[in-house]
Symmetry: D2
Subunit: 111 residues, 4 copies
C-alpha cells in the first residue's frame, strides 16, 4: 500500500499534474471512475453481476475500473495526508460499535 501511494505520487509529479490534483478535482475524478464502475454492473441481473469475473472481457473491464477508483482514492488520501488503511480500520471500529454483532445479525436496516 505504501508502495502504491509512492508510485501514484511519483506518477503525478513526473507529469506536473500536482496543479490539477486538488482535493476537489480528485474527489470529482474519483466519483467519475466510480460512475464507470457502476456502468459495468447496471444492466446485469444480480446473478450475472455475481459471476462477472468469470467473463474474461467484462472481468477485465471491472478490474480496470476498480484499479482506476483505487488510484484516485490513493492519490486523494495522499494529497490530504490521510492514511487510507488506518482511516478504513478506524471507521470499521466505529461501525462495529454502532452495529454490534448480536443486534445487526442478518439485518440491513441501518436507520
Amino acid at each position: 500500500m505504501d508502495r502504491l501511494t509512492a508510485h501514484v505520487r511519483t506518477f503525478a509529479e513526473e507529469r506536473d499534474w500536482q496543479q490539477f490534483h486538488t482535493p476537489k478535482n480528485l474527489a470529482m475524478a474519483l466519483a467519475g471512475e466510480v460512475g464507470e464502475l457502476l456502468a459495468e454492473f447496471q444492466w446485469l441481473t444480480p446473478e450475472q453481476a455475481a459471476g462477472v469475473m468469470a467473463d474474461p472481457e467484462a472481468g477485465a473491464r471491472v478490474k480496470a475500473e476498480i484499479g482506476d477508483v483505487m488510484v484516485y482514492l490513493t492519490r486523494l488520501a495522499d494529497v490530504l495526508g490521510v492514511d487510507l488503511v488506518e482511516a478504513a480500520l478506524t471507521k470499521l471500529d466505529e461501525v462495529a460499535t454502532r452495529y454490534p454483532v448480536d443486534r445487526a445479525k442478518g439485518s440491513a436496516d441501518k436507520r
Copy 2:
C-alpha cells in the same frame, strides 16, 4: 492491506451481511459513500478545500468519509476476487504508456 481485507470480511460475516454484499449492492454503496465525500467539498473554494484537514471538524468528517469509501472498495474487491493494490498498479502502468512523461507534462488533456 491484507489485514484490512480480512477485517472487513470478518466484519460482514459476523453480521451475516454476505447476503447483502452482492457486487451490484456494494458498487451502489461505494458510490453512495463517494457522494458523501463529494458533499464535504462541494461548497468549498479550491483554497478552502486544500486546507480542509487543518479544520478539526471538517477534517475528521473527510477522514471518516474516505474510510467509508475504502471499506466498501475493499469489500467489493474481495467479493470479486480482485487484488486492489495490484489492480491499481496495473492500471497505472497502462496509463503511463498512454501518457508518457514527455507528452503529458503539465497537460490535463486526456482526450
Copy 3:
C-alpha cells in the same frame, strides 16, 4: 418546467447563493444527491426496490431524494444555459439512431 427553473433561480438569488453555484460545485452537489438516492436502494432486493413507493416512509424518502436531484440538475442546466428537456430529447434522438428498434429489442448490450 420553466416555472421550476425560475423558482430555483429565485431561491438561489434571494439567498445570495450564486457565488456557490458554479458549474463544478453544482455538478458535485448533483452527484452527492444521486449518492443519497442510491443509498435508498442499495440494500434492497430488486423486488423490494420495485415496491419501494408502496412503503410510506421509504417512498417519501425516495421522492425527496429525486426532488433534490432534480433541483440541482435544473440549477446546473440554468447556470450553463442548457434547456433540460430539449437536451434530453436531442439525446434520445441520437440514441434512437444508435439503437434502432429492430436491432436493440430486448438487448441491454450497448457495446
Copy 4:
C-alpha cells in the same frame, strides 16, 4: 416535461427495455451518467468551468451529458410514479423553511 416522460417511456417499450429498467438499475445508470458529467468538469479551473459552454466541443459534450442524466432521471421517476417537477418544487419548499432568506443569505453552511 410530460412529453419527455412519454417519449422516454415509448423509447424503452419499443425496445423491450422495461425488463432492465428496474429502480435499482436506473438509479445506477443515473449515477453513471452523472459520473460522465463530472468528468467533463474535473480538471477545469473554476473559471474554465464557468466558460465551458463557449467552447463548441466541450459545450456539446456537457449538453449531451446533461441530456443523458435527464433521460435517466425522467425514466426513473416515471417507473416509480414520481412527478419530477412536483417533487422538486416540494423539496424546494422544505428547504426554504429550513434556510429562510434572512438567515441563509450568503452562507453555504448547511449544517
